[in-house]
Symmetry: C2
Subunit: 486 residues, 2 copies
Amino acid sequence: MKKDDDNSAKKETQGMTVRKSGNFSEWYNEAVLKAKLAGFAPVGGCMIIRPYGYAIWERIQSALDTSLKKSGHRNAYFPMFIPEKFLHKEAEHFEGFVPEVAWVEEENEKYALRPTSETIICDAYSKWIRSWRDLPMLVNQWCNIVRWETKVTKLFLRTREFLWQEGHTAHATKEEADAEVMKILDFYVDLAQNHLAIPVLSGRKSDSEKFAGALYTTTMEGLMPDGRALQMGTSHNLGQNFSKAFDIKFLDKDGKEKNVWQTSWGVSTRLIGAVAMVHGDDRGLVLPPRIAPVQVVIIPIIFEEGKGAVLDACKKVKERLGKDFMVELDDNDAYSAGWKFNEWELRGVPIRIEIGPRDVRNGEAVLVRRDTGEKTAVKLGGLEKAVKDMLDSIQNSLFRKAKKFLDDNTVSASSYEKLREAIGKRKMVRTSWCGSPDCEEKMKGETTATIRVMHPLGKKGAGSGTAKCVCCGKAAKHTVYIAKAY
Amino acid sequence: MKKDDDNSAKKETQGMTVRKSGNFSEWYNEAVLKAKLAGFAPVGGCMIIRPYGYAIWERIQSALDTSLKKSGHRNAYFPMFIPEKFLHKEAEHFEGFVPEVAWVEEENEKYALRPTSETIICDAYSKWIRSWRDLPMLVNQWCNIVRWETKVTKLFLRTREFLWQEGHTAHATKEEADAEVMKILDFYVDLAQNHLAIPVLSGRKSDSEKFAGALYTTTMEGLMPDGRALQMGTSHNLGQNFSKAFDIKFLDKDGKEKNVWQTSWGVSTRLIGAVAMVHGDDRGLVLPPRIAPVQVVIIPIIFEEGKGAVLDACKKVKERLGKDFMVELDDNDAYSAGWKFNEWELRGVPIRIEIGPRDVRNGEAVLVRRDTGEKTAVKLGGLEKAVKDMLDSIQNSLFRKAKKFLDDNTVSASSYEKLREAIGKRKMVRTSWCGSPDCEEKMKGETTATIRVMHPLGKKGAGSGTAKCVCCGKAAKHTVYIAKAY
């Protein structure tokens, strides 16, 4: 399982060698490794998140944590060790998670390394919550998670340990829990679309795909370039399932003792993988400016003559832009400008600024967009505005391009034959479903695709009386989106 | 091991019942539990860091992370699973940590849950580092740590799982590694003294107390109110011990292949325990303003008459102060003002602002300092300045008070008898030591106190030729500070 963590250093091949339109999976690995986002760990199924990858995670954390705090959520930290008996308390939950649990044992106890923390947090809530005054309880934690899977490792997408946030809330009524689930899903969709520049379909999961122990699960799903859907975040209404199993009761204003209603929700470092897949190209990563750890890289174009003036100009530009943007000046003498162009392209930095002797004479700088390669000479006086406008333009353009891909690859299927054909072509298929587990099972068995979302938000439901289930022909209850998935 | 996590809710006793000058250990537990900083987990030896405690950790993280990033350090994340064979590579390191390791096993592998991450990071560095151009490598990670101790649990001070940051750097020369060790120790001392308001002694550890596998260890130590020293942060020069064991070599500018020099360093959630111990009083926590999650709490003093005007005034004050400070308005109708006073005192909020009908008429607010209880009526026009000045004054005053305690309880001992006597009185003892492990062992065996720091920074060494070892009478090499420790 030990793999080469740093191709570029070892093989001395700097750039990408695989095309995105060729072997997508190999392209992804190469792009992630060469951008130094992450590497394979010397531990089966684990990854190392390298500083550049972690810096993206910090920007994601910062964006989401701000939304969570503004809406009254507070962070906490619960033990990663979950007593075995806790996992048993909610039967569906136990069945859903136990197959992929890693255990630590001592004489009389056996602890699971948290695959998720509902149970240990519910135990705490059963002690902390007494009265309606204690509600809502809105707690989140940022932590590591262990799922001891044996499938193939995929950096950011499938590893035995990953980082995430998990929110756990308790409310007095189902309505409040419903509202919380939607509020969080909105935060997630905002994060995906407005920060990661990835368009998503959001809505409910079918019962067979919901979180183990939940009343219902909502999700946001992106469509990756290989035509497979990626679940990018989920927000669950746990109903009173856990609160009954863990006896979480409160004295309500009416003097009656009631079980709380709960939600839980999470997004993980998987989001970084989604960004790499959706926006990258044959030269490596392309990062959306709002989550890029370096938004602008300045590269001096140096000849012996005028070297000092060029470096001075670069430093001044760095100082100026550093006030508003995340800027790096790459004045390392050991590498050529050409090498640096390739390197920062691999890493997906949105804007490269080139400054050479002629630019100094003209009072200009050359801005190069990572996403299109377009070059623009800009007068130094208007640099801040030009950079800001270009970053905005890149952010918007990445989203539009990804949205077009999603739209172009989402097709309607009115018959089972058309569904199979579209799935074969790796499309996201919009169709109608009667709601029966038998039809769902049949579609999944025959196409290996699954219902990713039903009742997509902002779309009219299909159960208006006219639509028929694509599988059995009976009256449909749900509009569903079906695709193969990661 | 299952304990009551929330005394206040269950026993309905709101305030402190134990005096700090009485049973210090019980006082500490009660203060931490009632302030809702942390609770005992239903997992042997583990704690839950509750939102209020975690918010302090976030402020500590923010202060330190800013210093680290400004000085070029970058965060990353390495797996928590350490292959057993890695721990074996550095013999001293193995012996030091294996007794307290928790293991996860699968068929052909055995993984330690990281007690610290030197080994797995060294393995990565052996792949990432090729040339002098890759140095210095300055990486930090914020993560959870597992030390499967069987001693009694003490919230924040001794738990099987805790949170920390661990820095791991690689350098071309010993001198650069030495400088890094000192730079980090300076950051730690700044954090302790200027943020936590805790004076510390800093300097080197003796060989017997150094980090397992290090060349030498530096530390900062605080003196707790019970006269025991607390190690609050350590910064190690690892020399080339790990770089030889893990074969971390670089091609230097002179064309020669060399082993890197390394450092590692960390502070943990233990710092929160130190803050509680040092500053707390008989009414609960007292938090230094620079790490208090709530710096100012506004409590309306409400009578039926003029209730609206009081609440309006409180909201306006909150809005104004919220721009510069971390402010909470406690307008919860369910509790009396007196109950709230006690509650926010328990939680150690630096300033309480009371606004009642008479204050509204007079255009005033009453500011109450948590540390002294002093009340000051302030005209609303000058509120921001008054709050800022009072927060500064509290921060300084807490430090001065703790410094006086440290100074008053640090005594010099010129004879072994005086050393024993002073240790018996729970003092921090300044004395001289010849440097021999035998004398160190003897002192430890007979007094249960240990050398906490030697060669304290900013003090003249004792090895000037005149001082004698307090134990054997031979020429002293080091000024040392000896105390019982946590």
